[in-house]
């Protein structure tokens, strides 16, 4: 990098300047680590059809963060509050839907909106203005502290180790819960484990992209990888690569175009998804059309 990005060259100004600031370096580090974690956890979200659930959990952390914010501003126990709220919401949704009493999408819709409303009520009752809320919903890379990166490293590492340790069991219980039961695996236990991992990822991502757009980090890269791969292990790797890559790229392009970083990151991911949807070998609609036409010509 030092040769390519020799200071003063045009290339340096264009490519490397954005990352010469300390806050951008911290943001890039967060983008990389978070991208890998969200990409891996998101792979399970997509193959299990839990996208709406992921959306709910990422909003569910809002009231927890709001309470933590009130107790000590940006130095309050934000991660702890978010973690408790996220896990609480996951368990609440699981509780409502147990035994088929209420359909899962209904329970999710209720918990999702109730969480945001509660966060809103808590913040305005305390008259702290809307600054905190905006940061919660949209993210703020300027506020990333070294402590946030350490937390991400520890919790994110823990999540990846968990996926590695229980990979076989997670895949089996996702693909065929009946086989999981006959193998005497705790199928419901693994579902809760995934929900907790989902909540933890949402907590890690809230500062980076904000509660509203966390779902995109969990769903869009994994959905793109889903179109490009045929095996779960490959899907996870491709998803992590796309998620981390587009996060860093989004950061960079946001600097140049003066866009909100979360918007630039999510739009980058969306663009890649659309490309895959159109051109993925064997699955993309344009690829299929061209293939069908050439097969017809034969």
């Amino acid at each position: 990098m030092t040769q390519v990005c020799a200071e003063g060259t045009v290339l340096f100004e264009w490519l490397c300047r954005p990352f010469s600031y300390a806050f951008m370096q911290r943001a890039a580090l967060m983008a990389l680590m978070l991208g890998i974690v969200a990409g891996v956890v998101g792979a399970f979200v997509v193959v299990r059809g839990m996208a709406f659930f992921a959306d709910a959990l990422s909003h569910a952390v809002v009231p927890g963060v709001a309470v933590a914010y009130l107790s000590g501003g940006v130095h309050g126990p934000l991660a702890l509050g978010a973690m408790l709220a996220g896990v609480g919401a996951a368990l609440l949704i699981g509780f409502f839907t147990r035994g088929g009493r209420i359909r899962e999408d209904t329970a999710i819709g209720i918990v999702l909106t109730a969480s945001v409303a509660l966060g809103l009520a808590i913040l305005s009752a305390a008259r702290k203005g809307s600054g905190g809320l905006e940061e919660l919903l949209l993210g703020n890379i300027l506020g990333i502290q070294d402590g946030d990166l350490r937390l991400l490293l520890v919790v994110g590492g823990l999540l990846l180790v968990t996926v590695r340790l229980f990979y076989k069991e997670l895949v089996i219980t996702s693909f065929d819960p009946v086989l999981g039961s006959t193998l005497r695996y705790p199928v419901e236990g693994f579902r809760y484990l995934l929900l907790i991992m989902l909540a933890a990822t949402a907590v890690l991502a809230i500062q980076f992209v904000g509660a509203i757009l966390i779902t995109a980090m969990l769903v869009t890269p994994a959905a793109t990888a889903y179109l490009l791969t045929k095996r779960m292990s490959r899907l996870m790797l491709v998803s992590a690569a796309i998620c981390a890559g587009s996060s860093v790229f989004g950061l960079w392009i946001a600097y140049h175009l003066r866009l909100p970083t979360s918007a630039a990151i999510v739009l980058t991911m969306t663009a890649l998804f659309i490309l895959a949807y159109l051109f993925a070998p064997g699955r993309g609609i344009v690829w299929n059309t061209i293939h069908a036409r050439s097969a017809h010509a034969d």
Partner: protein, 265 residues
């Protein structure tokens, strides 16, 4: 019971179901079901929709707790003995777009042998290939599971059951959406497995194949209505009450005509 007195070491039944009741949410789907299957037999499980065929299968593999009764597999009642039985689910219960290869699916059957916290190794993939070979699907190992035909999907799941080490296969509607040549292949595979001592219980709506291809039939409608050879079971006085409105029987000029409605399984 003279047989047993003369020869007390007679081989136990592969599957012995006695007085079993089970169900969901406090409602019983099957009640007081009893029957015994000898090793290596191929038994068809027939009955109208909602008769409790899937419930019976789920009870046998231990997915549902038994409300009453007991199930012995090869003379043993333990949970470990239950692993001798493997359930092959209906096609619509499986997400075929899931990103797993044919070999991945069969390797899943070896999960307990692989053990907790470990990933399958070369020896497990080798065992899975052997199981695939037994159902003639070794050439498809690398395909994504959704790229297969209905009959091929069945064969892969049978291979997985074999990899699990199961001696008793419980096949839930294996012929639904499977064309005739593939049905023929499936029966060929079941023939081979039977010769190796594998017992198969097959839930099906296809009464035509039942009469020709099975040793014994179990007629189920919440209760076990009848159990026996096709000749013993295919009688109006047995089938009419079992199928209720879903079957009509005419006795015209020495010829028995049975009409069934196979809609909406």
């Amino acid at each position: 019971m003279p047989d047993i007195q003369i020869n007390p070491v007679i081989a136990p039944y592969a599957l012995d179901v006695q007085g079993v009741s089970a169900g969901y949410n406090g409602k019983l789907a099957i009640e007081d079901v009893s029957f015994s299957v000898a090793k290596g037999k191929r038994v068809a499980l027939i009955g109208p929709n909602g008769a409790g065929k899937s419930t019976l299968f789920r009870a046998i593999v231990g997915l549902l707790p038994l409300r009453t009764g007991e199930i012995c597999i090869e003379g043993e009642q333990s949970a470990a003995a239950r692993e001798q039985a493997a359930y092959v689910p209906q096609t619509e219960d499986v997400d075929w777009s899931f990103p797993v290869s044919v070999l991945d699916v069969v390797v899943m059957g070896l999960a307990r042998r692989v053990g907790w916290l470990r990933l399958p190794g070369r020896q497990h993939r080798e065992l899975a290939r052997v199981a695939l070979d037994r159902v003639g699907m070794a050439d498809y190992a690398r395909r994504q599971i959704g790229e297969l035909s209905g009959g091929q999907k069945r064969r892969v799941f049978i291979a997985r059951a074999l990899a699990q080490g199961a001696h008793i296969l419980l096949l839930d509607e294996p012929f639904t959406g499977v064309d005739h040549p593939s049905q023929h292949t499936l029966f060929g595979i079941l023939d081979d497995l039977q010769a190796e001592g594998v017992t198969a219980l097959v839930a099906t709506h296809d009464l035509n194949t039942v009469a020709r291809h099975f040793d014994e039939l179990l007629v189920l409608n919440r209760r076990a209505i009848a159990y026996g050879t096709p000749d013993q079971v295919f009688r109006p006085e047995i089938l009419a009450p079992a199928f209720g409105g879903q079957i009509a029987i005419w006795n015209a000029d020495q010829q028995l005509i049975m009409l069934t409605d196979q809609c909406c399984p």
